[in-house]
């Protein structure tokens, strides 16, 4: 897991700011107190399981590398109800997919967090957290 260089990609930076602004507004079910919403980290790994369930989707990602980062990450995501209206389906993430994810990490240091977005094997970016105005950034360049 490494911190994102926010200047690497200005579009990503914008999306992150938007996500930061809106994230606390998006969760019906609970607050975001256990996630570090001010911090976004990037992880690259292999999808182990994608659970299309309420009140939140859950994604388990296997990350390889040195001992500090390697392991299984548990990522909470928006509900299937929300994501289903935003172009996701239960097939969006499949076991074995190699993906890169932007994540608001857990504050307590465990391997997990809230999914901001995911870059699919074909390069398409799917946003998990809502963005302003209901625009689906996965459909914009």
């Amino acid at each position: 897991m490494r911190a994102i260089n926010p200047f690497r990609n200005i579009h990503l930076l914008s999306a992150m700011i938007v996500a930061l602004l809106l994230a606390p507004y998006a969760l019906a079910h609970h607050s975001t107190a256990m996630f570090d919403m001010a911090k976004t980290v990037e992880i690259t790994g292999t999808i182990k399981e994608f659970q299309w369930t309420n009140p939140h989707t859950f994604t388990y990602v296997t990350v390889e590398g040195d001992a500090a980062v390697a392991g299984e990450y548990a990522l909470e995501g928006m509900s299937p109800n929300y994501l289903g209206r935003e172009g996701w389906s239960r097939h969006t993430l499949k076991p074995g997919d190699k993906v890169t994810l932007q994540v608001h990490p857990l504050k307590d240091g465990r391997k997990g967090g809230f999914m901001v977005s995911v870059t699919l094997p074909d390069g398409k970016v799917m946003y998990n957290l809502p963005v302003r105005g209901g625009v689906d950034p996965s459909k914009t360049p």
Binding site: A28, H30, F58, L106
Partner: protein, 283 residues
């Protein structure tokens, strides 16, 4: 205060009415005329999503409307851990100072102040009840039938019944999360009056209520895309003035989806408001 007076009168009528209606059946077979009458009501088909994205606020701002009015969004206080916003995220009358409390209630609260920003139990899958349940970031749907309107609420998979057959409230309703709701039409506006709330329901997400609390909703489809709900909380023992908030709902050509909160819940909140999060695979 005129509104309070009207409700005092209404409450009196309700008591009398309830006594008279004690033996009335809880339902009756609808007639063809009942169904024909429904056709004259406004079209509320489809589902309606609370404007948590702020789209209507943006429309108002472009039109030069007053920003900073009531809004939907923000962590719904009825269920959000650590959320301190009033239910539905609506502000109180734009004054920013919280609700106007009666002197008696204010003294009571000064002696025993409620916790500010106390965590709700939504993380434990307990729904917020009225009015917070009406402004979750999930759509609602109205099922209009003879004598009764059902409100389906996707969040927490909740439902409400609004009786429109002229029955009164029960004289002594059991306290519940949704209360007991009766409604009538004023032109294109459905006016819903609800009473009988349990102690989980807090005024402004913070203050306890008395058994005199009424929540009055004025529901109207404004145009093709938008529905407006004005929600007024009246409690003569707690509030010196009623609180009114306005929330907007966008039309979606969609259906209410399943939402079983306990299907795969990793979140929790303890009695001290501390959040918990399980990384274990529960499936």
């Amino acid at each position: 205060m005129q509104t309070a007076f009207k409700f005092a009168v209404a409450a009196g009528l309700v008591v009398v009415g309830a006594a008279m209606a004690a033996d009335a059946p809880k339902s009756r077979a609808p007639t063809a005329a009942d169904y024909a009458a429904l056709a004259k009501l406004p079209d509320w088909s489809g589902v309606w999503e609370p404007d948590w994205r702020g789209e209507h606020r943006a429309i108002e701002a472009r039109a030069g409307g007053a920003p900073g009015g009531a809004r939907v969004g923000g962590p719904p206080a009825g269920d959000a851990r650590g959320g301190s916003a009033p239910a539905g995220g609506a502000r109180f009358g734009g004054r920013g100072g919280g609700p106007q409390l009666t002197p008696e209630f204010q003294a009571k609260m000064a002696a025993n102040p409620p916790a500010r920003g106390g965590a709700g139990s939504g993380a434990n899958c307990v729904p917020p009840g009225l009015p917070g349940i009406m402004t979750q970031p999930y759509p609602i749907e109205f099922l209009i039938t003879p004598g009764k309107i059902g409100i389906l609420i996707e969040a927490y998979m909740q439902f409400r019944h609004v009786f429109t057959d002229g029955r009164p409230h029960p004289a002594d309703p059991d306290p519940t999360y949704m209360g007991h709701s009766i409604g009538h039409w004023e032109g294109d506006t459905l006016v819903v009056d609800s009473v009988g709330f349990n102690d989980s329901i807090k005024i402004g997400g913070r203050y306890p209520h008395s058994d005199q609390m009424h929540i009055v909703e004025r529901i109207r489809r404004v145009d093709k895309d938008w529905m407006q709900i004005q929600t007024t909380t009246i409690d003569p023992e707690v509030l010196a003035e009623p609180i009114t908030t306005t929330n907007w709902y966008k039309h979606l050509d969609d259906e209410i989806r399943e939402y079983i909160c306990l299907e795969n819940n990793h979140d929790s909140v303890d009695e001290n408001g501390q959040p918990g999060f399980s990384t274990e695979n529960q499936k």
